[in-house]
């Protein structure tokens, strides 16, 4: 059991992690997600006692890491596959770690076999590929046969066989009753491996719930509509008609339309009334990736923009359509159509406070930041003194409700993307 309470880490004036509280329970694989620079690795380092928290604490089985008796026998960690001395052979590397923790030397050969490195055990790890380094790191984590395991990006650089192996390894470790905490960027992998998700953005907790709840709370199901390819006019006509009926319509790359905000029968009726034939009308359930994108897009620090090659373009010949961008390329609103029943902009993104979503922390932050408020409201670098609607009255609840409050607050999430409609800074780029 890993328990973090009010965990905060500042480097100078940069806050890497702010008031993070969560629990990781045994017997399940808990995924740890967040965009680049959101504080995942910092949190992992604090759990392992490598970094001292600026405030708050994190314990494993009731002890801070550095007070754990026989830490290596209780906790195993893969932090960074390259955290080895390249001049040392794989076997000697593991042997030195085993000796340090009082683990019998034959355990070293055992774990080398488990990760499939026994044939290169006596080779210097400098020559290892990324995947082999990853296996060596996993071997080090398994060395003490610990109850708690932390893996930071375990499948980085692994081949498909290795990915499958890691996935099954995580599941079997959890099935043995161990606590398994895995950070990853690979959503498809997380969807298959994790039972529970902890999502952070800009160092704050965004969500702490099971994978199933996460997807249903953060995805907007949409309808894919395809009009005859041969008649582009029909597509425009339908698009206008649907928009007029209150739907949100986004063109897809292959010419289909992504429609949200209207039930399928209604889409069909509108098409019929407009006299447009349909080639496809299909319901679409969002994946974990889409749910994740929707939740975190307000807190992404490093976002790509469209490569415009300004001034290098030949003027488009008259009559041709500009190409439809690929999802995610300079199209921040892509993953976040307003969920059904919430068509209008969220109160938090009302025109009166257009800076809220544009600020460093959008509406998802408000839900995540809420538990922090009672501790040090003035110190919260992300909190904006914007007048909050009544719903936010719950904000002053004690931190004890942090975790339970998160699911309840999730309807606020779409406000971030909806807000970007108001300002449209990135669309204009």
């Amino acid at each position: 059991m890993i328990e973090a309470v009010g965990l905060t880490k500042r480097y100078g004036d940069k806050t890497a992690v702010y008031n993070l509280s969560f629990q990781v329970r045994p017997g399940a694989v808990t995924g740890f997600l967040g965009p680049n620079g959101s504080g995942k690795s910092t949190t992992m380092r604090m759990i392992l006692g490598l970094d001292n928290p600026t405030a708050g604490h994190v314990t494993i089985g009731g002890y801070p890491y550095r007070m754990l008796p026989n830490a290596a026998r209780q906790v195993g960690a893969l932090l960074d596959a390259k955290a080895v001395h390249g001049g040392r052979s794989a076997r000697n590397h593991l042997l030195s770690l085993a000796q340090l923790s009082g683990i019998p030397a034959r355990r070293v050969d055992e774990v080398l076999g488990v990760v499939g490195l026994h044939e290169v055990a006596r080779r210097r790890s400098k020559g290892f590929s990324l995947g082999m380094g990853q296996r060596l790191g996993i071997a080090a984590a398994l060395l003490g046969d610990p109850q708690v395991l932390l893996f930071d990006e375990p499948v980085n650089g692994l081949d498909p066989e290795g990915i499958l192996w890691v996935r099954n390894l995580m599941k079997s470790l959890a099935a043995e009753g161990r606590t398994v905490f895995v950070s990853s960027h690979l959503m498809s992998e997380m969807a298959l491996t994790a039972d529970h998700l902890i999502v952070i953005g800009r160092g704050q907790l965004l969500s702490d719930m099971s994978v199933k709840d996460f997807i249903s709370a953060n995805s907007a199901d949409f309808a894919r509509v395809r009009t005859p390819d041969t008649e582009p006019r029909q597509r425009e006509k339908l698009s206008a008609a649907l928009t007029g009926a209150g739907a949100r319509v986004l063109p897809e790359q292959d010419g289909a339309l992504r429609v949200t905000g209207l039930p399928l029968p209604r889409v069909s009726d509108i098409a019929h009334e407009a006299g447009v034939r349909l080639w496809e009308l299909s319901p679409h359930q969002a994946s974990l990736e889409e749910a994740y994108m929707r939740m975190t897009q307000g807190v992404v620090d490093y976002r790509s923009t469209t490569d415009q090659r300004e001034g290098f373009h030949e003027p488009l010949p008259p009559g041709t359509q500009p190409p439809v961008p690929v999802p995610g390329q300079g199209q921040p609103g892509w993953y976040a159509p307003p969920p059904p029943g919430q068509g209008g902009p969220h109160p938090a993104a009302a025109p009166g406070v257009p800076q809220a979503p544009a600020g460093p922390y959008g509406a998802p932050g408000a839900s995540g930041a809420v538990p922090g408020a009672p501790v040090a409201p003035a110190a919260n670098p992300y909190a904006r003194p914007v007048p909050r609607p009544g719903r936010e009255a719950a904000a002053d609840a004690p931190p004890a409700v942090a975790a339970t409050a998160a699911p309840a607050a999730t309807p606020a999430v779409p406000a971030g993307p909806a807000g970007s409609d108001v300002t449209k800074p990135e669309d204009a780029r």
Partner: protein, 301 residues
């Protein structure tokens, strides 16, 4: 999984957890029954300093830089010692009663650079490669790791230096019998073998501590070589008579001069003499190692 359980503890007030404090004071919940679910069949032993020593011994002998630096060290000490001996015998110089042991100085002065390099690499290379994080996760008692490193390195450096200096001492005494060299006394023998070996091993341990503080191999090696050479070089350019005293102190307490004290051919007469350099180096190493110990416990890895 169902709805997450709320944390049972309220967050500690901000003032309670001072930045930099390793463990903010707060009441930990009594550790309940160990983990539900999984217990390892591998017996759990209580780790101690001996485990860390075994681990550091494995580490130091399993990297090539150890073999290289110590190999070059032996080569320099014995090789240069042999050469100086040959030069003196072939030119038939008259040592006029001076001890033959004093010729060992030149090889050792060069060789000390190798010991400094290895000392720095023992700690700083773990930072360069990221290995330190793996080590500190395996053993959160950081001070134990540092002390084990220092002790293992000290013993290795001492053993190798003692071996090479003893070989060179015997060589010189045997070679220079015909050059009117004085018979070394027992104390001179001790200083030229045991004394100088302890001094060099301590100098290496000082470098190890500096490596742990600086956490960067090249930086720490530069710093240490500078510390060895700079006082002499600086003193050389102090022409002004008002700086005469400073200049003398720099000369006499510079590391090369301290080394030469073990061979009784010091640059001055007022500075350290006898076994003094050993005490100076012991004190200096203890202070820096203590600083490294404290810093290691406080800093983020």
């Amino acid at each position: 999984m169902s709805t997450p359980q709320p944390p049972t503890q309220p967050a500690a007030p901000a003032g309670e957890a001072a930045p930099g404090a390793a463990h903010p004071a707060f009441p930990y919940p009594a550790p309940g029954p160990a983990y539900p679910g999984y217990t390892s069949p591998i017996p759990v032993v209580r780790t101690h300093f001996g485990h860390a020593l075994a681990s550091e011994w494995t580490k130091i002998k399993s990297v090539r830089s150890t073999m290289w630096t110590l190999g070059v060290f032996v080569l320099l000490v014995v090789g240069v010692g042999l050469l100086t001996g040959l030069v003196v015998t072939s030119t038939e110089s008259d040592l006029s009663g001076e001890s033959a042991l004093s010729l060992g100085f030149f090889g050792l002065l060069l060789g000390s650079m190798c010991v400094i390099t290895l000392g720095v690499l023992t700690t700083a290379s773990e930072y360069g490669t990221g290995m330190i994080r793996t080590t500190m996760v395996a053993c959160p008692s950081r001070g134990r790791v540092l002390l084990a490193k220092a002790l293992v390195f000290f013993l290795v450096a001492f053993a190798v230096t003692l071996l090479s200096t003893t070989v060179v001492a015997f060589l010189h005494v045997a070679m220079l019998k015909g050059n009117n060299a004085g018979d070394p006394t027992g104390n001179e023998w001790l200083k030229a073998t045991l004394g100088i070996s302890l001094y060099i091993a301590l100098l290496g341990t000082l470098s190890l501590a500096v490596g742990s503080v600086v956490r960067h191999s090249a930086g720490a090696i530069t710093l240490m070589i500078g510390a060895v050479l700079a006082p002499l070089v600086v003193a050389m350019f102090m022409f002004s008579s008002s700086l005469e005293d400073v200049r003398t102190v720099l000369f006499e307490y510079s590391i090369p001069n301290q080394l030469s004290v073990f061979y009784a051919n010091s640059l001055g007469t007022s500075g350290p003499s006898g076994w003094d350099p050993l005490w100076i180096m012991t004190g200096l190493t203890a202070v820096v190692l203590g600083g490294a110990f404290v810093l290691l416990g406080r800093r983020d890895v």
